[in-house]
């Protein structure tokens, strides 16, 4: 069953573009990655699904209900962690969490305490005294305490230290394994790859690709840099190599295909240094535009 169903959704802010003709589906229990650079329309899409803004044209359904007409009903089972977290500065963390919980018709106290413990959140501090990372933790607890069925995470890891990021990912995986559907927006490809099963790529307000994460990786370029004495660009004259550049015995190139071909070549050299990297998001986009 589709939890999110977006069809031809378009949003213009006056004349400036938000998103154009965006369509996709997310199934129950999925972790759907939504990737794109800043300003591509990721937050716009999420805000439309939460009815914080209203579509110019097209429609979207969550839990089978229309986001424009059934917003409040939909939001009962939604958890939202915005990319920038802002809460009432004068409040204490515990009061904010209680205020948040008061909107749901169930007792959230136990879950709230569990989550606060996992995220090492100090409940008696004032919001205004919190660092950005700590505010983000408030956001995470606030978004999860009512045990929602669908989670919107908008660039959730910004501001969290690596340790907290890992705890957060474990938390999201645990939620997912008990059936929670996750919509995960990010511009960091690595974290999307770690977590998601399927991804949509958005650029300049339009969806450019929706695919399984494995397929995406298989089809992708690797970024390779090799240093060896007397190395020239002819050394890697194999199919799949592009954008080759040579300088001071070092070669940079992109490779797409069976990585063993490259490894074979490399092993025949006396290598000084070697790196094989995932391409950056931008480079993936280049790939989509070639």
């Amino acid at each position: 069953m589709s939890i999110i169903e977006v069809s031809h959704l378009t949003k213009y802010y006056g004349k400036s573009r938000g998103i154009v003709d965006v369509s996709f589906k997310e199934n129950e229990g999925e972790i759907f990655g939504f990737i794109g650079p800043n300003g591509a329309g990721k937050s716009t899409t999420i805000r439309l699904l939460l009815s914080l803004i209203h579509p110019t044209s097209g429609s979207a359904r969550v839990f089978g209900k229309d986001v424009v007409t059934d917003g409040p009903e939909i939001r009962r089972d939604i958890g939202y962690l915005p990319s920038e977290v802002f809460y009432y500065e004068g409040m204490k963390v515990i009061d904010l969490l209680k205020y948040s919980a008061s909107f749901y018709k169930r007792d959230c106290t136990q879950r709230m305490n569990e989550l606060s413990e996992i995220m090492e959140l100090e409940l008696n501090r004032r919001i205004s005294d919190l660092s950005y990372g700590n505010k983000k933790k408030v956001g995470i607890v606030q978004g999860l305490l009512h045990s929602p069925k669908l989670l919107f995470l908008d660039e959730p890891t910004a501001g969290l230290d690596p340790l907290m990021q890992r705890k957060f990912f474990d938390l999201i995986r645990a939620e997912n394994s008990r059936g929670v559907t996750v919509f995960f927006s990010s511009h960091i490809l690595g974290e999307v790859q770690r977590l998601c099963t399927r991804v949509g790529i958005i650029r300049d307000g339009r969806i450019v690709e929706i695919s399984d994460i494995r397929t995406l990786q298989k089809n992708n370029y690797k970024k390779i840099q090799v240093s060896a004495k007397g190395l020239t660009s002819t050394a890697f004259n194999i199919p799949g190599v592009t954008n080759i550049q040579a300088e001071n015995n070092t070669l940079h190139f992109f490779f797409k295909g069976d990585i063993n071909e490259v490894v074979k070549k490399v092993s025949s050299l006396k290598v000084v240094d070697l790196t094989i990297e995932e391409p950056t998001l931008e480079e993936i986009f280049m790939h989509y535009y070639e």
Binding site: Y13, S43, T44, R47, L50, S51, L52, I53, H54, G71, P72, E73, I74, R75, R76, I78, Y80, P82, S83, E84, F86, Y87, Y88, E89, G90, Y99, S100, S102, F103, Y104, Q142
Partner: protein, 269 residues
């Protein structure tokens, strides 16, 4: 109406309500404490006032006031109380939804399972409670001051109640206008300049309306709609003007609902 939002909003303005109430109490008490002096030397007061430029008297509505009577003197004080109450109500009106947007907390509130209508109603009722509470304190303070300082002078209770009521109507007006303007402009960055501008602007218009007697400014300035001097002199509201006032408030509130339900909540760029 959502009780949680109501409580939260009321709590958020609690301190402000107390400060306004105390300040107004102090003002009413202080001003009215000099009433016995004015009243005892009514002849002298009137002589002094006669030497003031007529335009100035007109501007403060003092040419229509008899400062030697209880209500005449009270209506002089209440002009300033009205101005303060208008600033307070304007503050709450302009800030009602715009503060959530300028401090980016609107995302939190509106991603909860509530309708925009419920949000606005709860917020309005919370603010209204605060305003009525302030009025109540001013009423009690006024009544105490009058009882204490009037000596043997009599006054008409019915007219005093009309003056009290004028405060509520005026606050509703500034609340509604503030709210609708805050929803019409792109973004309100700071509330106070707007509410001060609105209240003082209308006050100045009301004053000028007195000076240029022929120009019909009274239709557009709320202070003329509820002119204390008129109420005391005639013993009643200027009904057509009060009706205009209430109608404008109702229109402003209805338009506010219409705008807020359709509003795109701005995001951090």
């Amino acid at each position: 109406m959502n009780a949680n939002i109501y409580r939260h909003e009321f709590h958020a303005r609690w301190k402000s309500v107390i400060i306004w109430s105390l300040a107004l109490t102090a003002m009413v008490m202080f001003f009215f404490s000099i009433f016995p002096v004015f009243a005892d030397q009514a002849a002298l007061t009137n002589q002094m006032l006669a030497k003031f430029p007529p335009a100035l008297l007109e501007a403060f509505g003092m040419n229509k006031m008899d400062l030697s009577t209880v209500l005449g003197f009270y209506s002089f004080i209440i002009v300033f109380a009205q101005l303060c109450l208008a600033v307070q109500a304007g503050n709450y009106g302009f800030g009602l939804v715009s503060i959530e947007e300028s401090e980016w907390t609107a995302d939190f509130l509106l991603s909860k399972p509530v309708t925009r209508g419920q949000v606005l109603t709860s917020k309005l009722l919370a603010v209204l409670s605060g305003l009525l509470l302030t009025d109540l304190v001013v009423w009690v303070a006024s009544f105490a001051a009058i009882t204490f300082f009037r000596g043997a002078r009599e006054y008409d209770m019915a007219i005093l109640i009309l003056l009290f009521l004028s405060m509520v109507i005026l606050q509703l007006f500034f609340l509604g206008i503030g709210l609708v303007i805050s929803l019409l402009v792109r973004r309100v960055r700071s509330v106070t300049p707007y509410s001060l501008g609105l209240a003082f602007g209308m006050y100045v218009l009301s004053a000028f309306s007195g000076i240029f007697g022929a120009v019909k400014l009274e239709y557009i300035t709320a202070f003329k709609h509820l002119d204390p001097a008129y109420i005391v002199k005639q013993g009643s509201f200027d009904t057509p003007l009060v009706l205009i006032n209430v109608a404008v408030t109702l229109v402003a509130l209805s338009v506010s609902y219409w705008l807020y339900i359709r509003r795109d909540i701005p995001a951090v760029a």
